[in-house]
Symmetry: C2
C-alpha cells in the first residue's frame, strides 16, 4: 500500500486475527487522562497520522475509524487520506459514538480490546461487550516508542505548604470515612506536592501517581533521583515532609499494599489500575477528587502572583504589538511564523519564564477562521497592512500561567470584519462586566457573552471560558463557562478565560481573550454577589470598532480598561512604546454620537 | 390540647404505635403526581392545616415536620402554630430533605410508611429503610374525606384527532420495542384523548389512568356514565374510537392484564401501582413519557387559537385596567378583592371561558412582595392612588390558557418603586427579544432576563418562565426558563411565561408577565435560530418608567409592543377605552435624551 499508517493498521489486524479480537480501541490519552499526552502516548498519531488534540481510533477487521470533534474535521480528512481510516464525527446529534457503534456492530458479544492504561475506568465501563485490557498494547508493534519522560523535578512557592495540603487531604479522608486517596490526574499531583517538571510539552507536570493515607504519602514517579541533581534535591525535600518516593511502575503493586477504603476519581483513574484494585478486593469510594476544586480556587498568594505576572506578560504583548505595527509599516516581509517567534523571544525575557502554556496560534486572514490553526513552520502566510491578524498565546511562569488572544486590525478592514470585531468585543465585555449571585455555574452566564452575537445571528462553536491553573495546565477544571450544563459554581479565586469569537471559513476569524478572576462583590437583601476582575493587561485595538454596535456601556468599560492598561504598563515600557500605547488607548465612548443602538 | 390538627396527629400516632411504625410520610400530591390535587388528596392540609401548594409531612412518634420551600416559610409558621409540627426548610443548601432526615434518625432500619398512591415510584425509591405502602392510609382517620371527583367529561377541538395521537403513541411503542404505554399524568391523558373536565380546581383534567397498547386503549376513569348526559356522550365518542372505558379503581387489575413490555414514567407513576406491576413481573421500560413533549409543542391549530384567545383576554385586561383607574379617580372605596372580582366578571364574558387558570393574585403594596400572596376574601387591603398594585391572573378557555401579570402604578411612586418597576420591565423585555440557537434549553437563557437586575444587585427567588398548556395546566413541562439545569431544549411551538420580579418585604412587589411562544427565526452559516413572539396582548404602563434605566433598545421594543397592543385591541374596545389606551401607549423612546446608560 505504501502508506505507513495503513501498514501499521495491517500489522495490528494480524495481531487481532491471531488473538480472535473483534475490535481494538486506541485512545489519544495517557495513563492519567491527560488532555495533552507526552510523546510516548501519542499512539493515535503513530497509528493514524492524525495530530489533532482530541481523537480516538476504533479498529475492527474490516473497518478503521477516527472519532474527533468539529474542530478537527477538515484536518482529519487531510491527514487520514490514504490510511483507509474513516472519519466519524463526534458530538454531532444522531452520529453514534464508539460505544454505540460497537453495540450496533457486535451487540454485547464483541471481544473489545483496549489499552487499559490509556482509557479511564469511567470510559471503559461504558463500552459494550467483553472488554479486555491489554496494557501498552501498541508497544508490541511500536519499536521506537518513546520512554516515559523524566525531566528534572523542582519545587515551587504557592502560598501553601505541601504539609498543609496533605493535612487538608487527610481531613477530607476523615470526613468521607476513607483511609486513603489515590490521585491520578497530573495537575492535581503537581498542585498537592508543590512540584513541577517538563514531562509534557506546555504543561509543567510530573508523570506520576500519588497516594495519601491517614499517616503517610507515597509518590510513584519515573525519575533517576541519583543521576539528576535537581530531582535529587527535590526528592530529599519531599522525603523530609514524610513522602515516600517509589518507582513509577510500582503502582502495579498498589492494590496489594492498601488497607481500608480507597477514595478515587473514576474519570481520571485508568482502567488497568481500576481492574487491579477491584480484583484485589480493595473497597473503593468513587467520587470527584476534591483536589480539583482546591486547585482551581487560587489562594491570596497565587492571586497576587497571577496579577503581577499578567502585568509583565501584558508588557511583553505590548512590545510585540508595537513591533508588529512597525514591521508592517517598514514594509519588511513579515509572516505568521516571524510574528510568533518574535513574541516568544520577548516573552522569554520575563523572569521565571518556563516556556509557553500552549502552541501559539499566529494566524492572518483565513487561517484565523480555524479556532485551532497551526502556524506552518515554513512558508507561513505573509502579513499585509490590511484585514485582521489573530494571535492566541500564553506563557508558563514560576508565578503563574497566562493565556491571551488579541485580534489586530493590520490596516483597513471590510465592513464585515469590523462588525465581527466589534460584536465579539462586545461579547467579551458583556461577560467581563457580569455581576451574578454566589453559587452560579458558568453555564448559566455563558449566554451573557453570546447574546450580542446571537442578536445578529452569529455564534461560535467552542466554549466561552476554561479554567486556568497557577503555573499548571492552561486548561483546568472543574469550572468552565460554556454550553454544557456543568453544575460547578464559580467561586471567588477561580481564574477563567473569556474568549468569544466569530469564524468565517475562507475569510477571517476574530477572538478576544482575557483571563478573569472571580471576586466577591458584596452582599445585600437579595443575596451575595460575585463579579470578575480582568487579570490580563493588554489594550484592545479600537481602530476596527463600530461604536454603535459596541454599545455605550461597553465603550465605557473598554475605555476604563484601556486606560488602566496604559497606566499600569507605561512605567514598564520604553518611552517610544509608552507614547504609542497612549495613542492606542484613546477613549472611544465619545467618538460618535451615542444615540444609536446600545 | 384543643388544636384539631394536633388531635389528628395524635390519632395517627396511636395507629403507628399499634402497628410498630417508625415514620409516616404524608405528601401533598395525588395518585397522578399532580401539582394541584383535588380536595380528596389535600391530606397535608387536613392533617396539619397548612394550605401552601407544596409541602410534605413526616410524622414519627416524637417528631412532626413539614417540608416546604421558601415561598411558604412565613405562611407555614403561622398555620402550624399550635399543631406541634415543626417547619423544615426544603431546597436550602445544608438542610436535610426527608430521605436524609430519615437516614439520620433511623439509618436503614426504619419502618417507613407511605400512602403508596400519593407518592411517585421515583420518590419512594429514594427513601431509606423498609418502605411500606399503605394505600389511602389517612382514610382510616379521615371520616368525611371527599370522594374522587367526577365532573362531566367533554371533548375538545385541538387540531389533531385522538386517533392520530394514539397512532403516534403506537409508533413510539414500535420504536422503543414496547407493547404498551401507561399514562398516569392527568394533563397527558387529557391531551391524548382530547377530553376535559373540572375534576381539579383551575385545571381542566379528568382523574384517570390511560393504557395504550399496540391494538387498543383502556381508560380507567371515575365517572357515572349513565347518570351524566355529557359524560355519556363523550364515552360513546371515545368508544367509537376504539377506547375501552373501565372504572377508575380497576387500575388495580392492570398488572394481571398486561402482556409484554410496558413503558412508564416513574416520575408520575404512583408507588402502589409500580409495586403492583413489579410484583406481577411485568417487564418495565422506565423513561420520560413522550406525551409530555408532544403536548408542550403546540400544533398550528393550537397556536392560532392561543393567539386569538390572548387578544380577547387582553381586551378584558384593558377593560379591567380602565375600570381600576376610573374607580380610583372617582374616590370610591376599592380593595384588592373588589378588583379581582371585577376582573373575573369581565373575563367570564369571553366565549369559551371555563374559569380561571389559577387563583388570582390581587395585591397592593406590601402584599405584592409575597410572590404567592392570597387575596383575603374579606377586609382585603384598600387601594389608594399611589404606589404599585400587582395583578397576576389567567383564564381557562376552550381555545387556550392565559396567564398575565401587570404591575400598575396607581399614582405617584417612590424612586425605589420606579427603579424596580423599570428594571423588571427591562428584564422582561431582554428575555422577550432574545434570539438563540436551536437546541438551547431554557436554563441557558434565564440569565438574559436576570442580567439587568443582577447588575444592580437585585434578583428574584422564583423561575423566570414555566410552560403553559393549551386549555390544560397553566404550569406544564417539560421545558422551563429557570435556575435549575433542565436540559430540555426550547422548541418552536412551545409556550412559556416570561415573569421576572423584584420583591421587597413590607414595601412592594413588581412582576411583569407575558406568555411567549417560541418561533423559528431562520438559518444561516452559524446555524438555525429561534426567538419568541409575545402571545399576551395588554399594554405595559409607562408612567413609572425611568427611561435611562430601561435602555434605548428596550424602549424601542416596548413602544412597538404597546403600539401593536393598541392596534390589535382598539377595534374590540368601546371608544372611551380605546382613546384611553391610545394615551397609555404613547412611545417612551424619545421621552428623554438617550445619552444615559442603555
Amino acid at each position: 500500500m505504501g502508506n505507513i499508517h495503513a501498514e501499521r493498521i495491517d500489522a495490528l489486524r494480524r495481531m487481532m486475527l491471531s488473538k480472535d479480537w473483534d475490535a481494538v480501541i486506541v485512545t489519544g490519552s495517557d495513563p492519567h487522562s491527560s488532555e495533552y499526552p507526552a510523546a510516548r502516548w501519542k499512539q493515535v498519531e503513530w497509528l493514524s497520522g492524525f495530530t489533532g488534540e482530541a481523537g480516538d481510533l476504533l479498529i475492527t477487521l474490516d473497518h478503521a475509524g477516527l472519532w474527533t470533534d468539529s474542530r478537527y474535521f477538515i484536518q482529519a480528512v487531510e491527514q487520514l487520506d490514504g490510511t483507509g481510516i474513516e472519519l466519524h464525527k463526534a458530538r454531532i446529534p444522531g452520529e453514534p459514538d464508539i460505544p454505540q457503534w460497537l453495540e450496533r456492530q457486535f451487540g454485547s458479544e464483541g471481544m473489545v480490546v483496549v489499552d487499559g492504561l490509556c482509557i479511564s475506568a469511567q470510559a471503559a465501563e461504558a463500552l459494550p461487550g467483553n472488554v479486555i485490557s491489554m496494557p501498552d498494547l501498541l508497544g508490541y508493534l511500536w519499536q521506537d516508542r518513546p520512554p516515559v519522560p523524566k525531566t528534572p523535578v523542582y519545587t515551587v512557592e504557592t502560598g501553601m505548604t505541601r504539609a498543609d495540603k496533605i493535612a487538608s487531604a487527610r481531613r477530607f479522608l476523615e470526613d468521607e470515612g476513607c483511609d486513603a486517596i489515590l490521585l491520578t490526574a497530573l495537575d492535581q499531583i503537581a498542585w498537592l506536592l508543590n512540584v513541577r517538571a517538563s514531562d509534557i510539552e506546555f504543561n509543567p507536570f510530573v508523570i506520576s501517581y500519588l497516594l495519601v493515607d491517614r499517616h503517610g504519602a507515597r509518590w510513584y514517579v519515573e525519575k533517576d533521583g541519583e543521576q539528576d541533581e535537581q530531582t535529587c534535591a527535590t526528592f530529599s525535600i519531599l522525603e523530609a515532609d514524610g513522602i515516600d518516593i517509589l518507582p513509577y511502575s510500582d503502582i502495579t503493586y498498589l492494590a496489594g499494599e492498601i488497607s481500608g477504603r480507597l477514595c478515587t476519581d473514576p474519570s481520571t483513574l485508568n482502567y488497568t489500575l481500576y481492574s487491579n484494585l477491584l480484583s484485589m478486593g480493595v473497597p473503593l469510594k468513587k467520587m470527584k477528587s476534591p483536589v480539583d476544586m482546591w486547585k482551581a480556587v487560587k489562594n491570596p498568594f497565587e492571586q497576587e502572583c497571577m496579577r503581577k505576572i499578567h502585568i509583565e506578560d501584558g508588557a511583553a504583548m505590548e512590545r510585540f504589538l508595537f513591533w508588529l505595527e512597525k514591521s508592517l509599516e517598514s514594509g519588511k516581509r513579515t509572516d505568521e511564523r516571524d510574528a510568533s517567534e518574535e513574541l516568544d523571544r520577548i516573552r522569554s525575557g520575563i523572569g521565571g519564564y518556563k516556556g509557553n502554556s500552549f502552541e501559539t496560534i499566529s494566524a492572518y486572514g483565513p487561517g484565523a477562521a480555524l479556532p485551532h490553526y497551526k502556524t506552518p513552520s515554513e512558508n507561513a502566510p505573509e502579513l499585509h497592512p490590511r484585514g485582521l491578524y489573530l494571535c492566541d498565546s500564553g506563557g508558563q511562569y514560576l508565578s503563574g500561567t497566562t493565556d491571551i488572544t488579541r485580534t489586530v486590525p493590520l490596516g483597513p478592514c471590510s465592513r464585515l470584519e469590523m462588525e465581527d470585531y466589534t460584536l465579539v468585543l462586545r461579547s467579551h465585555i458583556d461577560l467581563a462586566r457580569a455581576v451574578f449571585p454566589k453559587g452560579t455555574p458558568g453555564c448559566r452566564i455563558d449566554a451573557l457573552a453570546r447574546e450580542a452575537l446571537w442578536r445578529s445571528k452569529r455564534d461560535f462553536g467552542h466554549g466561552t471560558g476554561h479554567g486556568v491553573g497557577f503555573f499548571l495546565g492552561v486548561h483546568e477544571g472543574p469550572q468552565d463557562i460554556r454550553q454544557n450544563l456543568n453544575a460547578t459554581p464559580l467561586v471567588p479565586g477561580m481564574v477563567c478565560s473569556d474568549e468569544p469569537g466569530i469564524y468565517r471559513e475562507g475569510k477571517h476569524g476574530v477572538r478576544h481573550e482575557n483571563l478573569l478572576i472571580c471576586v466577591e462583590a458584596g452582599s445585600n437583601e437579595f443575596g451575595s454577589w460575585l463579579e470578575f476582575e480582568p487579570l490580563t493587561m493588554c489594550h484592545f485595538d479600537t481602530s476596527a470598532i463600530i461604536p454603535e454596535l459596541l454599545g455605550y456601556e461597553q465603550a465605557l468599560w473598554l475605555d476604563a480598561y484601556n486606560e488602566k492598561v496604559y497606566r499600569t504598563l507605561s512605567p514598564l515600557l520604553p518611552q517610544e512604546i509608552s507614547e504609542w500605547l497612549r495613542e492606542k488607548t484613546r477613549p472611544v465612548a465619545g467618538r460618535k454620537d451615542r444615540q444609536g443602538q446600545s
